[in-house]
């Protein structure tokens, strides 16, 4: 075994990447099946002001606060786009683009303010744009691990309702499921999926890590359960590969590498899929 694989920093980076790849990939399943891939893009860009505000609150790098801020602004952006698309003549994609553009702009402004504070460079705020695997600390692993456990545990608790709501919302409502609760839950799950990888993959490309593994998994299986875990595995593998390459070559941002690995898996999946010639409905 090459000796660098035993390096504690490399192990930390790989473990962190595996956790976030697993969570983002698995939770992305619902987003892709519910045709919400681009909401993920809106949320990940909208996470930037939250990260900056999370930093400004304490003036130091506190990952839980920054990620909490990211969830709040990400969800706020999703809600704002929902409100806008309710207005006459405003289509859903224009509403999402408005939300994405405005929240990201606010993030850039907040970032430029935060960078004047002492300690901003040490907090690695810039790395939240394109991601930096090497910025992962040992203490972050506990947080990533807890989020992964809670997110996957919560999904397994409402698995049946979420499945019904994804494939047949009308029947789900008729069967007594509360549509708003389940939809809010799935949107929150998407927000968590997007936010968990921000530090390593960056706000600009994080949504691709939510979408690509699910799309790849969908080519190989038609079962929701199998797709969920396969997407998680693909996400973990892509994130670990990308993170290790970037951790070993200083100066290479992690986000682009992770996304390119995940996209390569999608290409392989598209070519080798057993459904290659069949028309797809799902």
């Amino acid at each position: 075994m090459p000796s660098f694989l035993l390096d504690p920093i490399v192990i930390t980076v790989a473990l962190g990447a595996a956790l976030l790849g697993l969570t983002a990939g698995a939770l992305g399943t619902f987003a892709v099946l519910r045709r919400e891939s681009l909401i993920g893009d809106t949320m990940s860009h909208a996470a930037l002001p939250g990260v900056a505000v999370g930093f400004l609150l304490t003036g130091e790098r506190s990952l839980p606060l920054m990620l909490a801020g990211a969830v709040v602004t990400g969800l706020a952006a999703a809600l704002f786009s929902l409100y806008l698309s309710g207005r006459p003549r405003i289509k859903r994609d224009a509403a999402m683009g408005t939300s994405l553009g405005l929240f990201f702009a606010l993030g850039v402004v907040a970032l430029s303010y935060a960078q004047r504070m002492p300690g901003a460079a040490a907090a690695g705020l810039e790395t939240f744009l394109f991601g930096q695997a090497a910025a992962t600390l040992r203490s972050d692993l506990v947080l990533l691990g807890c989020v992964t456990l809670v997110a996957l545990g919560a999904v397994s608790l409402v698995w049946k309702q979420a499945k019904l709501m994804t494939f047949d919302p009308d029947f789900a409502v008729a069967a007594g499921a509360d549509r708003r609760v389940i939809e809010a839950f799935l949107t929150a799950a998407l927000a968590v999926a997007v936010v968990i990888g921000l530090q390593m993959v960056g706000v600009v490309l994080m949504s691709a890590l939510v979408v690509a593994p699910a799309v790849a998994a969908r080519q190989w299986t038609a079962s929701l359960g199998a797709m969920f875990w396969l997407a998680g595995a693909i996400g973990a593998a892509s994130a670990v590969t990308g993170a290790l390459i970037s951790a070993l070559s200083p100066g290479l941002a992690t986000g682009p590498l992770v996304v390119l690995v995940a996209t390569a898996v999608v290409c392989v999946a598209l070519v080798t899929s057993p459904r290659r010639l069949a028309q797809v409905d799902g």
Binding site: D41, A253, P256, S273
Partner: protein, 286 residues
């Protein structure tokens, strides 16, 4: 005259107005057609075009880059369409796959091979409008900032295109089948619109970067849709919103010492919020 173009504040504001205006002009038609997020895909896709053009020819500016990167923007859209037409991946997921992959490859190539050039990933993402006055060209005996000249030309081209094809653009904006029946070749107009949008994104890149471009392409058009009833009204309101945002954004940025590009894009939010208030709504009704 020259005094004006040596004034840094004026140059930055003028660059912002031209970038925001030429973007919002084409953005209006894309938003009305329900293709708002194509601007997101295009603005990311051009980064791969910039990287490839640089690797092949070594240019980081000029008409060659404009064409190469502009073509990449169109390719992004066509690839997305082809992937979703294959029936294997839905449209939203196809969009969410193609442009991040092209953007990621572009950023990677730039950070590997173009580190010392001004097209580094950070500039591509956010723009550096604060420095646009440094890079100058001489025209008509005047020393002018390059961005200002390029964006001015871009705005003229876009205005000419819109004026020449307004009818086709507005028909195709609402009903592509109908436009086809009238022999208006909606597909050709669409591709031209996408091509010009891509070139505008390249021209505006120094000023506003990839993501803020999206704000200028979409938000002013949405404001227009909220307060104006007819298409030309939508376009006018979008242009006014864009110009206001660029000027007001610069003032706020200088006042509070914040990111200029970020403030310009964020300022499009003020007219949007106004349009969403009861006053804005009443205006739309009348």
């Amino acid at each position: 005259m020259q005094v004006l173009f040596d004034d840094i504040g004026f140059v930055i504001m003028a660059t912002g107005v031209l970038a925001a205006g030429s973007t919002a002009l084409l953005g209006s038609f894309l938003v009305v057609r329900g293709q708002a997020l194509l601007t997101d895909a295009i603005s990311h896709g051009i980064v791969l075009g910039i990287a490839v053009t640089f690797l092949l020819t070594g240019v980081t500016t000029g008409p060659l880059q404009l064409l190469g990167a502009g073509a990449a923007g169109v390719v992004t859209v066509l690839l997305t369409e082809a992937l979703s037409a294959s029936g294997r991946v839905r449209r939203d997921a196809a969009t969410g796959l193609v442009f991040p992959a092209m953007f990621a490859l572009g950023v990677l190539l730039l950070s590997l091979f173009a580190r010392d050039v001004h097209v580094d990933p950070h500039t591509v993402l956010l723009g550096e409008i604060g420095y646009v006055w440094l890079d100058r060209v001489t025209l008509f005996g005047l020393s002018l900032p390059r961005s200002l000249v390029v964006l001015g030309a871009m705005l003229l081209v876009n205005l000419t295109f819109v004026a020449a094809f307004y009818e086709r653009l507005s028909v195709a904006a609402f009903d592509e089948v109908q436009a086809g029946l009238h022999g208006l070749r909606p597909r050709a107009v669409t591709v031209a619109l996408l091509g010009l949008t891509s070139m505008t994104a390249v021209a505006a890149l120094d000023a506003v970067g990839v993501v803020l471009f999206v704000a200028f392409a979409i938000v002013p058009a949405v404001v227009g849709l909220l307060v104006a009833r007819r298409l030309h009204g939508v376009v006018m309101v979008a242009l006014l919103t864009a110009a206001f945002a660029a000027v007001a954004g610069y003032q706020v940025a200088v006042w509070l010492d914040l990111s200029i590009g970020g403030c310009m894009a964020a300022m499009t939010g003020i007219p949007l919020l106004l349009a969403l208030t009861p006053v804005g709504r009443a205006w739309q009704m009348s």
